[in-house]
Amino acid sequence: MATLSFRGVQKSYVSGTGARRGSGEGVTHVLHRVDLEVGDGEFIALVGPSGCGKSTLLRCVAGLEEISAGDLHIGPRRVNDIAPKDRDVAMVFQSYALYPHLSVKENMAFALRLQRHPETESRVAEAAEMLGLTPLLARLPKELSGGQRQRVAMGRAIVRRPSVFLFDEPLSNLDAALRQQMRVELRRRHQLLRTTTLYVTHDQVEALTLADRIVVLNAGVVQQVGTPDELYFDPANRFVAGFIGSPTMNFVEHVPGCVRGEVVGVRPNDVEVGSGEIVATVEFVERLGFEAMVHLRVGEETLMARVEGEAPSPGAKVGVRFSRSYRFEKATGARVREPA
C-alpha cells in the first residue's frame, strides 16, 4: 500500500538521427510537467485519446521508461532511478504478456519463485481460487480463452501483493459482454484489496464506473483531475467536456445567448425538444428503443438531442431549448464560468 506522487514529471524523446540530433527539432515531448498526488488505496483512471501519453505515464511508474525531468515518488521513496524489479509495482499488460512457455501456475508463481518466497504455493492457490483459475492451473496460456488469460494476468499481479497496481487497457481485448463482467469483478477486487491502482483506458465508461478519480490527458498535458461527477458536471475545458460523456457534448455558436468569441456546450440530455426560442429542423432520428437520438439542424450547425418516448419526424420544424449549458472560450477552449 502506498501513495504515488508525480511532481513535474516530463518525458521527452530525442527523435531523428544524424544531422538533426541536438538541433532541438528532434525532441518530442510526450509528457509535459505532470503533477498528481494519488492517495493510498485510490483507484485512478488515466483517460485520453490515442497517443496522449497515458500509457507512457504508466510505464514511467513501472520503470520501463525513464523520466526525463521531475520526480516520481512511490510512498516516501523517490523512484526515478530505481529498477522496475525494485519498485514493488505490478503491471497487467494490454496483451497480458503471459510467459507462453509456462503453465498458468508457473506464470502466477514466477515472481514469488524468483524471491524464493515461502508462501508461493498458498498465495498462488488463493489467487487462483479467487479468480476461478484453479481447474486451469496446469494449462499453457495458448490453451486458454481471452478472458481466462486476462484473469491469469491479474492473478500474476495479485499474488505479489504489490504496493501499486498498474493496468494498461486490460479489458480492451475482450468482447463487450466479458468486458462488462470483468469490469464489475475489477471493482469488487479493488474494494477487497484496496491497493493503489493506476488504470489506463481509452474507454470512458470503464473510467467512469471504476475510478475514484479520473485524469484526463491530452497531448501529454493533464487537462483535469477529478471524480467522475466533477468531470461530467463541471469540466474544466472544452476538451474534457467533449471527451467525457456519451453521447458527446454539442458545441454551437449561433444560438441566442452565445457571446462572440465563445462556444456554448450542451449535452444531448440537456437539449429539450418541443418548445423554445431556437428553431431547428429535424434531419433524422436514431431510435434506440426507449430513447431516441434526434439530429437537428440550426442554421449551419448541427445539434443532437436525446429524447425519451415520442420523437419528431424528419423534416419537421421544432422549437428547442437548453436546460443546462457550458461556455468555453473559442480560442483556448477554457471554461468561461458565470461570475458567482
Binding site: 520503470g63 522496475p84 524489479k85 509495482v89 503491471m91 496483451s95 512457455h101 524468483l114
Partner: protein, 766 residues
C-alpha cells in the same frame, strides 16, 4: 559454347584431319600454333586442328572423351597420370623397347627418340607384359632448381656443405632472424625427394619397385633435412617462400619453373635472381636429384583408329615437333625446357643417368648454347629423375609428408622418422581385402528389392495413390532430379564401399569384398587404439575427435551468436546496423578463404596471433605442434565462420519474442540474467533448436576448416571422420572402397545424431 563443344567432339572425319588438345598458354601456345601453321604449309593436304583446353579441365575432358571415341587424336599433358591412362586405355603405345632398354622396335624407329637413358624418355616408359613400352613423345620437362638472390649470394653453392654454411651465415640473427639464407618446403615429400636421391636413397629399393623408406640413405637425408630446416624460417609453405624471396628476406629457395611467374619483376622492386642446379650432396658425393615431370605428346587411345592415315599423320607431326628447328624455336621463342631430340639434334648432347647413377653429369657446350637464356638454362638438370607414376609410389606421399612434418617439428629423430614413414606406408597401403563371393549379397539385394517393391506397390494401391497420378506427374521432374542428383550418387557411393579397387596392378578393375571394409574400420583391425603411433588412424579415435569438435563448435557458435544478437538489440549500442552487417560478414566470405587466412594467422613466426601474444609477452606458440593448440586453432576458425548463422537466426527469433513478456519478467523482479535464462532463451528455443541441428551437421562434416587449417596436424590427430575418409580415398593411394565405407559410416552416424537431436527438440521444455 555448347555448339563449340559439340563441334570439338564431332570433328569432321576427313582422313587426314587430326585434332590435338593442349593446355599450353602464353609463349608456349604461340609457338605451338606458329609451328603448326608452318607444318600445314609444308603439307597442304593435311589439317591439324589445335584446340586449347584450360589446364584445370583438360585431364577430366580427356578421360571422359577418349574412351568414348570423342576425344582428340593427340594431346599434350604431363606424364604424371600415365599408369592410370595406360590401364584405362586413354593412351596408345608409340613404341616398344626390349628388356635391356637399348633397342627400339624397328617399326617405329624413325619417330622414336633412341636415347632411353634420357630421363624424359624413361618417364614415358611403362613395363607391360615384360616389355618396356613407350607411351608418348617427350616435349618439355619441369623440375626443381635453386633460385638465388644475386644481391645476397655471389656464387650459388656447389655442394651441401656450402649450402649449410650459407644458410647459417646469411641469417641476420641466429636467435630471432628476420632474414634467412635458405628456405624450401621442408615438409614436402616432393621437394625432399631431391635430398633423398642425393644421399643415394629414395622411395624405391634397388629393384626399383619395392617401397623402402627406412633405409640408411634416407635416414642420412632426413638428418640433413632436419639440420637445414632448423636454419630456415619455421612452418614454410609455398606462399610464405614466395613472399620472403620477393622481399629479399631469404637468399635462396628451392622451386620450380612455375615460381618464375610469382617473382616480383626487378623493375617493381623484386629480387635480381639467378637459377641453377641443385648442389651436390657432400656426404654422398651425388647430385641432389629432383623429380622431373614431362609434358608429352600422347597418342590418344580409345576405340580402334578408323584410319591408318590418321595415325601416320599423328606420328609425322610428333616427329616434326621434336625436330631440331622446332625444338630450337620452342626453346628460344616459347621459353620451354624442351627435350632435345636424340637424332637430328645436337649429337654431342648430354646426360645419361642409369640406375647406377649419373654416368656423365655435364651439359656439353652446344646444348648450353641452345639455351641462351640463363634462367632457362638453370633448370636443365641431367640428374633429374622422372617422377614414378605407379599406385604404390602414390601411396608414399602421405606417409613421407607425415614423417617429414614430425621430423621438421623436432618431434622425431631422423631414425624414428624414417621408421615411421615405412610403418605408416605399410599401414596406409593396407593389405587388400579378400575377394568375397557376391552371390549371397546379390540374392539378398534382389530379395530386398522384391520385398520393397511389393510393399511399395501394396502401399500405393491401398493408399489409392494411383488416383493422383496427375499430381505425381507434376512433381516428377523434381523427383527425377532428386533421384539423379542425390539418390543415385549415394547408391553408387554406397556400393563402392563393398568393393576394392585392385591395387598395384592398376588395371582399374574392382573386386567385390563384401562388408570387410566395414568390419576393418569398426573393429580397428589395422590400427588399434593401444598403438600410440597409429592411433590417429583409428575410427573410434577419429569419431571421438569429431564429436568433441562438433560439441565445442556448436556450443561456441550458439553462445557467441546469441550473445551478439542480444547485444545488437540493446538500445545503447550505437550504429547497430553497421555492426550487424560487419558481424554477418564472416559468413559471406567463402569458408576456404577464411580458413586459409586463419591458417596464416596461426603461423608460428609470421602469424598475427603470435604477434599479438608477443605484445603481452607470450612466447611464440607452434600452433600445429600439439593436439590442444591445433584443435583450438581449428575451433577458433570454425567459430569465426559459424557464429554469424546463429546470430542471424537469433536476431530473427528475437523479433517474435514479445517485448512485453520480457518487461513482465522485469516487473516480476527478474534480474537481467534471470530474464534471459527463464524467459528469453526458452522463447528462442523453438527457432534455435533446428539451427543447432543444422549447425551440428555442418560442423560434423566441416572438411574445409580441418583440411586447410590444421590439415589433421599433428600426425592426423585432429582429423575428423570426413577428412579421414578423404585421405583414405585420395591421398593414401586409391582406397576408394575403404573411403566409401567411411562415408557410409559417417552417414549412419549422422542419422543417429539427428535422431537424438530431434528427440531433444521434440521434448517439451519446462
Amino acid at each position: 559454347m555448347i555448339v563449340a563443344l559439340w563441334a570439338a567432339f564431332v570433328a569432321p572425319a576427313h582422313a587426314t584431319d587430326i585434332t590435338l588438345w593442349h593446355a599450353w598458354r602464353g609463349e608456349e601456345r604461340t609457338v605451338l600454333e606458329s609451328v603448326t601453321d608452318d607444318y600445314q604449309k609444308a603439307h597442304p593436304g593435311d589439317h591439324i586442328e589445335l584446340t586449347f583446353v584450360p589446364y584445370e579441365g583438360l585431364k577430366s575432358k580427356i578421360e571422359a572423351a577418349v574412351p568414348r571415341g570423342n576425344g582428340p587424336d593427340l594431346f599434350i599433358y604431363a606424364h604424371e597420370n600415365l599408369d592410370d591412362w595406360v590401364a584405362t586405355g586413354v593412351v596408345r603405345p608409340v613404341g616398344q623397347v626390349d628388356s635391356d632398354r637399348s633397342q627400339v622396335d624397328l617399326a617405329h624407329r624413325s619417330t622414336i627418340p633412341r636415347v632411353f637413358g634420357d630421363p624424359a624418355n624413361r618417364a614415358l616408359t611403362v613395363l607391360r607384359d615384360g616389355h618396356s613400352v613407350i607411351y608418348g613423345w617427350p616435349l618439355a620437362t619441369k623440375c626443381l632448381a635453386l633460385f638465388y638472390n644475386k644481391a645476397l649470394v655471389a656464387h650459388p653453392p656447389e655442394n651441401t656443405d656450402d649450402l649449410v654454411y650459407l644458410a647459417d651465415t646469411l641469417r641476420d640473427d641466429p636467435v630471432h632472424p628476420t632474414r634467412w639464407g635458405f628456405a624450401w618446403d621442408a615438409t614436402s615429400a616432393y621437394e625432399d625427394a631431391a635430398w633423398m636421391h642425393g644421399f643415394g636413397g629414395g622411395v624405391f629399393a634397388q629393384d626399383g619397385r619395392t617401397i623402402a623408406l627406412d633405409t640408411p640413405e634416407n635416414r642420412a637425408a632426413f638428418g640433413f633435412i632436419q639440420q637445414l630446416a632448423g636454419l630456415g624460417p619455421a612452418e614454410t609453405s609455398g606462399s610464405l617462400i614466395t613472399q620472403l624471396f620477393n622481399e629479399g628476406k631469404v637468399a635462396m629457395v628451392l622451386n620450380g619453373p612455375w615460381f618464375l611467374g610469382e617473382i616480383t619483376p626487378k623493375e617493381q622492386g623484386g629480387p635480381d635472381f639467378g637459377v641453377t642446379m641443385l648442389p651436390l650432396v657432400s656426404d654422398a658425393g651425388l647430385p641432389a636429384a629432383p623429380y622431373m615431370t614431362v609434358d608429352a605428346l600422347f597418342l590418344a587411345g580409345g576405340p580402334a583408329p578408323e584410319a591408318a592415315a590418321k595415325e601416320a599423320l599423328a606420328r609425322d607431326f610428333a616427329a616434326y615437333l621434336q625436330s631440331e628447328d622446332v625444338v630450337v624455336r620452342r626453346i628460344r621463342e616459347g621459353h620451354q625446357l624442351a627435350v632435345i631430340p636424340p637424332d637430328g639434334g645436337p649429337s654431342d648432347h648430354i646426360v645419361i643417368i642409369t640406375t647406377e647413377g649419373p654416368v656423365d653429369g655435364g651439359i656439353t657446350a652446344p646444348t648450353a648454347a641452345l639455351y641462351s637464356d640463363p634462367v632457362l638454362r638453370g633448370f636443365i638438370n641431367p640428374n633429374a629423375l622422372p617422377m614414378p607414376t605407379t599406385p604404390a609410389f602414390a601411396q608414399t606421399w602421405e606417409p613421407l609428408a607425415r614423417a617429414l612434418r614430425r621430423l621438421v617439428r623436432g618431434a622425431a629423430t631422423p631414425e624414428q622418422a624414417a621408421a615411421e614413414a615405412q610403418t605408416t606406408w605399410e599401414v596406409v597401403s593396407r593389405p587388400e581385402a579378400p575377394t568375397v563371393d557376391g552371390t549371397p549379397f546379390a540374392a539378398l539385394l534382389a530379395l530386398g528389392l522384391l520385398a520393397g517393391g511389393l510393399v511399395a506397390t501394396q502401399r500405393m494401391y491401398s493408399a489409392k495413390a494411383w488416383k493422383h497420378w496427375r499430381e505425381y506427374l507434376w512433381i516428377a521432374p523434381g523427383g527425377l532430379a532428386v533421384v539423379l542428383l542425390v539418390v543415385a550418387p549415394f547408391l553408387v557411393g554406397a556400393s563402392v564401399s563393398l568393393f576394392e579397387v585392385a591395387g598395384s596392378a592398376s588395371d582399374g578393375s574392382w573386386r567385390f569384398v563384401g562388408l570387410s571394409h566395414f568390419t576393418d574400420i569398426l573393429l580397428d583391425r589395422d590400427f588399434p587404439l593401444t598403438n600410440a603411433s597409429t592411433r590417429a588412424l583409428s575410427f573410434w579415435y577419429t569419431l571421438v575427435v569429431t564429436l568433441v569438435w562438433t560439441l565445442c563448435n556448436v556450443v561456441l557458435h550458439v553462445t557467441l551468436g546469441v550473445f551478439l544478437a542480444m547485444m545488437l538489440r540493446e538500445p545503447w549500442v550505437k550504429l547497430r546496423s553497421v555492426f550487424r552487417a560487419l558481424l554477418i560478414l564472416p559468413w559471406a566470405v567463402p569458408n576456404y578463404i577464411t580458413a586459409l587466412a586463419w591458417k596464416g594467422m596461426f603461423h608460428q613466426q609470421f602469424g598475427a596471433i603470435n604477434a599479438l601474444l608477443g605484445l603481452v609477452g607470450v612466447a611464440p606458440v607452434s600452433w600445429f605442434a600439439s593436439w590442444t593448440t591445433a584443435f583450438a586453432a581449428n575451433v577458433a576458425t570454425n567459430t569465426w565462420l559459424g557464429f554469424p548463422f546463429m546470430m542471424v537466426v537469433t536476431l530473427g527469433a528475437l523479433q517474435s519474442v514479445p517485448r512485453e513478456v520480457e518487461e513482465a519478467a522485469e516487473m516480476d523482479g527478474a534480474t537481467g540474467w534471470q530474464k534471459f535464462r527463464l524467459v528469453t532463451l526458452p522463447l528462442l528455443q523453438p527457432a534455435l533448436l533446428p539451427a543447432v541441428i543444422l549447425g551440428s551437421v555442418w560442423t560434423f562434416n566441416m572438411f574445409n576448416v580441418i583440411y586447410l587449417v590444421s590439415g589433421g596436424e599433428p600426425d592426423g590427430s585432429t582429423d575428423i571422420l570426413v577428412s579421414q575418409a578423404y585421405k583414405w580415398a585420395f591421398t593414401r593411394g586409391h582406397h576408394y572402397g575403404y573411403g566409401a565405407a567411411y562415408a557410409v559410416i559417417i552417414f549412419g552416424v549422422m542419422i543417429v545424431q539427428s535422431r537424438v537431436l530431434n528427440r531433444l527438440a521434440g521434448r517439451k521444455v519446462v
